[in-house]
């Protein structure tokens, strides 16, 4: 969700599931406007933020793709079955403003093409 125009490669997940660190497009009501987010955790994983640092299953994740560091704090939560946990790379905004969280895998349409 950056207001830019992107092409989407829809066949990317025809025979596989999204993996950690994939950037994916997430469907809303239709397919004209979609969310663009990075998968940080898969089903069954525990996700949390401590002072802006992402922890997955209590392991610190080195996120070199993050554009602006944050000071986010989020207590641990488990990713439900059939879901992935996605977060945007631009974390300059407060945690309550940034749109992120777990989403059903069937909402993932594909990956962006640049």
């Amino acid at each position: 969700m950056n207001g830019d125009f992107n092409f989407c490669f829809r066949l990317r997940y025809s025979f596989s599931k999204p993996e950690r660190h994939d950037v994916v497009t997430i469907r809303l009501a239709g397919e004209k406007l979609m969310l663009l987010k990075r998968v940080v955790a898969l089903e069954g994983d525990f996700v949390e933020f401590q002072n802006g640092i992402l922890f997955v299953n209590k392991k610190k994740i080195d996120e070199q793709y993050v554009r602006y560091p944050s000071d986010w704090n989020l207590p641990p939560r488990k990713v439900d079955k059939g879901h992935v946990y996605v977060v945007g790379d631009n974390r300059s905004v407060p945690i309550d403003v940034h749109q992120f969280g777990q989403t059903p895998i069937d909402r993932i349409i594909g990956v962006p093409l640049w």
Binding site: G3, L28, A29, G30, K32, L33, V86, V97, G101, T103
Partner: protein, 166 residues
């Protein structure tokens, strides 16, 4: 010869029926989209908006819902029934901290489950600048139920779909 004549008439009636059917439903779809356009126009805000205009817009928004409207917005921890007067006040107060707001609606999926009612799915993108200078952009999927009262579509149920759950 007579049989052919009746077949042509029957075909003509069928084609006319199909055209009337599609024209009727397209018109209803157009009316609903126009209604949402009206909502967007009255939520939008330009810098330096006069307080009288703000009050007038909030007053217009009151008229887009039925007597009361069910709103379910888990992302904002809100679920309940709101009256048209309350909606006007909410819109007025929510617009107040912004100096500019734009609201664009896309990807309409419109169904008519029964006569006089409609179900609409759409994606709404709201962009705004707070008076503090901070830029805000929110993208949401909305599921709305509408009821037709005196030939005007009114919202009676709005759900902000929880696409991402923190």
């Amino acid at each position: 010869m007579v049989k052919t004549k009746y077949l042509i008439i029957a075909g003509g009636v069928l084609v006319a029926g199909i055209i009337v059917f599609f024209v009727f439903f397209q018109n209803e779809e157009a009316k609903i989209k126009k209604r949402f356009k009206f909502i967007a126009e009255n939520i939008e805000k330009t810098s330096g908006e006069n307080p009288i205009i703000a009050a007038a817009k909030a007053n217009r928004i009151k008229k887009v819902i039925t007597k009361s409207c069910k709103i379910h917005a888990p992302e904002y921890s809100f679920s309940g029934v709101i009256s048209s007067d309350e909606l006007g006040a909410v819109v007025f107060n929510k617009r107040a901290p912004y100096s500019e707001i734009s609201l664009n609606l896309h990807d309409f999926i419109i169904d008519f489950p029964e006569k006089g009612s409609a179900q609409v799915n759409l994606t709404a993108i709201m962009e705004g600048r707070l008076k503090t200078g901070e830029f805000v952009r929110e993208l949401h999927e909305l599921k709305c139920k509408l009821q037709k009262i005196e030939d005007i579509w009114h919202l009676k149920d709005i759900e902000v779909v929880e696409v991402l759950r923190k």
